[in-house]
Symmetry: C2
DNA sequence: TAGATTGTTAATCGATTAACAATC
DNA sequence: TAGATTGTTAATCGATTAACAATC
């Protein structure tokens, strides 16, 4: 794959393109120009064409882009149909939300196991998958070789857990904790969601706005 | 406030600085140089000094930065101690997670109300706050004038809800839905968390990595 | 004082935008 | 063919990094 020369800023825009195109497609729109898509998304037409061209250009001069086709193409770029096996660590409210919402419709991953250290919820079933006690993590990974771990626990126990998961062959982390996995394990790939950072950003913006005209 | 000329890239780094400094402080470290902080955070020393200087520079030549003081300063910049009143819309798993986790320790906001359209959970208490039926939203806002709304519901009903919330004086949105509030209401301030986008980014990266050396 | 490290400007790098030739 | 709109290069803009004088 020659994907590695695509800049991260372009990559970060792909899922949003995908969502907008999904929406257009669901509304029966089959053709769109970079100009109109730009207006809908709050971008420039130039940027949209530039972005799509990183992957070869899916448009047609004088016509624009075919929505279902472009949607399919971006989905393929995102490998939306791949089924990378993922396990969820932490079945609290956040873990449950992630398991039941975000995996709906599959976004490149397939949830195969859920683990929690709280024995009281062992055996409960979320989206058809039983919650296992964390003690079974090691054997489960040996038997099923998941490649992705979704971290929905606090940072406290993360060092030991991360070391173990890496040892067990986990290569991709979707990390909701504030533990810095990438710093400790530069060999794995980490996508982090820092909820508190997002809230603090809003706090900054909300309070800085007040002085405006 | 003269905050408005600070670039968004700097702002987005502030919460991470804040977390790292909190950690250093909790570990009893009282002095740090830009060089050492850079190593710990995976940034350049130059960038750190440049960033801090946007706000006036909190260091001392030949010494470095005083950790507790810098921590305090960045907290102040983020207005971490402000208590902007916030309401939560949607008390499903995600809403519960947000209410019970992220607001712990306060990050510039104070949760004052929780609403859900599901009558079955009306009256349940989360973090000391009763869940109210969504029908009471309007009166509650008139009585309590919250300025921030946290959106933890799917995009379906968002248009009407957003229009109503804006009419009721909500100025800041922490948006977990995929509905584009900012596009519909350019007058308000929106910080969005697109969980599915984050997962799709990981899917892209995971699948593009395979071809690497 | 000498050493260390900041604050700050200048240089570099990368990302976005503008422009236009190619072409449907 | 004429009009529209892409693909693609060049120009601009902004962010990051390097360098060093200021100074603790």
């Amino acid at each position: 794959m020659e994907k590695n020369d695509i800049s991260i800023s372009v990559i970060k825009r792909l899922p949003r393109y995908y969502r907008f195109l999904e929406n257009l497609k669901n509304n029966g729109i089959i053709r769109i120009s970079s100009k109109e898509l730009a207006e809908r998304m709050g971008l420039t037409a130039s940027q949209i064409r530039h972005d799509f061209n990183c992957f070869g250009g899916f448009g047609q001069q004088g016509y624009g882009y075919n929505v279902p086709e472009l949607y399919k193409q971006i989905g393929d770029i995102l490998c939306i149909d791949s089924q990378t096996k993922a396990i969820l660590i932490g079945a609290g409210n956040l873990g449950k939300a992630i398991a039941s919402k975000v995996f709906v419709g599959d976004r490149g991953f397939r949830l195969v196991g859920i683990f929690d250290k709280n024995e009281a919820i062992s055996g409960k079933v979320i989206k058809g998958i039983p919650v296992r006690h964390i003690n079974y993590l090691e054997n489960f990974c040996i038997d099923n070789s998941p490649e992705c771990a979704i971290i929905c626990i606090p940072s406290n126990d993360m060092k030991e857990l991360t070391d173990l998961l890496c040892k067990l062959g986990i290569k991709y982390f979707w990390n909701f904790s504030n533990y810095d996995i990438a710093m400790a394990h530069p060999e794995v790939l980490v996508e982090s969601v820092h909820l508190s950072d997002s809230l603090m950003t809003l706090s900054y913006l909300a309070n800085s706005e007040e002085g405006e005209g």
